[in-house]
């Protein structure tokens, strides 16, 4: 509850603060302050299991260790994004404090989506999260690519909202007993589903797959991630996607958990398709930004394994995956922004010019691939263990491992360009690489390695 209140209030503060901030660099510090406040308040709530202010929300949101840990991870990743890319957000356009305000509103949506207890709050959370993102995607107003990305994202997002609402209406109509929107109330049994519930389930599934950009509803993602300003791509591809998964896992665990046998095969097929399409398309990309967009689809395929398995391991794994994937991707995007040329050739010879950047980029790429000793390895391991423990579709586990092997190809192509190719200047002189930036990158890389050795420092919080 603390996080929702603080992010919403701070969003409004930042929005009106835009009138008063004369210097362009001021909003960044305000945003960082607000985010630190939100993190502290949220950790307090996690430890005490009680919010500062008691708000009667009629049980429409529920807060437990799982949600609160996820929110903490997400807020910390956003803080890292602000610290690494604060100056890049200032360079997107003139309305700096509005961008920060919109990011705060997205964070408010993320907290609602992570804690929803009724379909009403799910819908509101998804909308609060999406609408500011449409604006952020189109924030580079003169750039046609940004316009196109915003329009595409908006149309696809609104379309999936329509499908979501239709699914909710069918679930409501089909639910036996006292009808209500509470997800535990919808809880359907193991037996054969009524037709209306089945339609509702499929429509909700499609809407959620749209939101997390899983195949066959992934086609908007590469274009949108490519067109949006790179800072906001970094935010969208990590934090927002993870929030989509938390909503997905929450909805399916509480509402449809008992009927898992009936939809599990569907999810298995979708997971396999997402892994295959994401990885194979990423292989052929020349631009690193677009490659990362496809790789985010591939990583979404791995995260779908959590929804497929839906057990304790999956829940621990999804938080670990969120942390591992967000840290690595935010770090990699932060380096990418500093490059002159976004193609893979643009990375040629980075090791000679910026050895530290080259090293940290390598750690991030190794983590995304899932090499042991990095957080990405542990995250993938948790997902695979969850799927094996489930024990119904073992072919999916083998398939996922094979796809992870494919992913090594395109991630290592970047590492190869960094270390084994000679070329001229790579880092853009306009984007100065400050010592603070380097220190932050090293901290991020260290975090990834620490999480890779001791994954329990995150997962223990779930049982706090």
């Amino acid at each position: 509850m603390n996080a929702i209140i603080i992010t919403a209030v701070w969003g409004i503060v930042m929005m009106f603060g835009g009138v008063f901030f004369k210097q362009k660099s001021k909003p960044k510090y305000w945003a960082i302050t607000g985010l630190i406040l939100a993190i502290i308040a949220n950790v307090c709530e996690l430890i005490k299991q009680h919010p500062f202010i008691d708000v009667n929300i009629k049980d429409m949101l529920s807060f437990n260790s799982f949600n609160l840990t996820f929110i903490t991870v997400v807020l910390l990743c956003t803080l890292l994004l602000f610290l690494l890319n604060g100056r890049d957000i200032e360079k997107v356009g003139n309305n700096v404090s509005e961008y920060f305000a919109l990011i705060f509103f997205v964070l408010c949506g993320v907290t609602i989506v992570a804690t929803f207890n009724t379909l009403l709050t799910l819908f509101l959370g998804i909308e609060i999260l999406s609408i500011p993102l449409y604006i952020l995607t189109g924030s580079d107003k003169r750039n046609l690519k940004s316009n196109e990305a915003a329009l595409k994202y908006f149309l696809m997002g609104a379309f999936s909202t329509g499908i979501l609402l239709m699914g909710i209406a069918f679930l409501y109509g089909g639910s036996a007993g006292t009808p209500s929107f509470y997800i535990s109330n919808i809880n359907i049994g193991e037996g054969k589903m009524p037709v209306m519930i089945a339609i509702g389930l499929v429509l909700l599934l499609i809407a959620m797959l749209f939101k997390v950009s899983a195949a066959p509803f992934h086609f908007w993602a590469p274009d949108v991630y490519d067109g949006a300003p790179t800072v906001f791509t970094s935010f969208m591809a990590t934090i927002v996607k993870a929030a989509g998964f938390i909503a997905f896992i929450r909805l399916f665990e509480y509402s449809f958990g008992n009927a898992q046998q009936q939809w599990q095969m569907l999810i298995a097929v979708v997971t396999a398709a997402t892994l295959l399409i994401g990885n194979l398309s990423a292989v052929f990309q020349q631009s690193v930004k677009r490659m990362l967009a496809y790789s985010s689809i591939a990583q979404a395929g791995f995260m779908l394994l959590a929804i497929f398995a839906l057990n304790e391991f999956a829940k621990e794994g999804i938080i670990l995956y969120t942390a591992a994937y967000s840290l690595a991707t935010i770090g990699l995007f932060a380096i990418l922004i500093k490059m002159n040329d976004y193609t893979i050739d643009g990375f040629n010879g980075l090791a000679k010019q910026q050895p530290l950047l080259a090293f940290t980029a390598t750690v991030f790429l190794l983590s995304l691939t899932g090499i042991p000793l990095t957080a990405g390895f542990q995250a993938k391991l948790y997902m695979l263990i969850a799927a094996v423990k489930d024990g119904h579709q073992n072919w999916l586990v083998i398939f996922a491992v094979l796809c992870a092997a494919i992913s090594a190809y395109y991630y290592f192509k970047v590492i190869q360009a960094i270390y084994f190719k000679e070329n001229n200047s790579t880092v853009n002189q306009d984007w100065d690489v400050t010592p603070a930036f380097k220190i932050l990158l090293v901290i991020t890389a260290t975090l990834i390695i620490v999480l890779g050795i001791f994954p329990t420092i995150i997962t223990d919080w779930l049982h706090y």
Partner: protein, 107 residues
Amino acid sequence: MPINYYIFLALALFTIGVIGVLTRRNAIIIFMCIELMLNAANLLLVAFSKLHTATSNIATAGSDAQIFVFFIMIVAAAEVSVGLAIIVMMYRNTHSVDVNFLNRLKN
């Protein structure tokens, strides 16, 4: 009047909306079709609300769906304001609202 009529009407509206989104090329018309989908959901929710009120002996049964409809209307209005702004922004740059124009990112 049986509930089936309302379900079929809502499904018909929803299908028209989906087909419109998938086939039309004008951004504004796609947008109108999306609104049609939202309104089909609204209609269905209200119909189910009425059904639950009629069949249940609790006086307030089904009222939550009507409140949900208000939320949908408000959110749709918020979405329209952002969406139209995006379409206007695109029109300023390209002097067209044709989504076929938008294939620059592909290559």
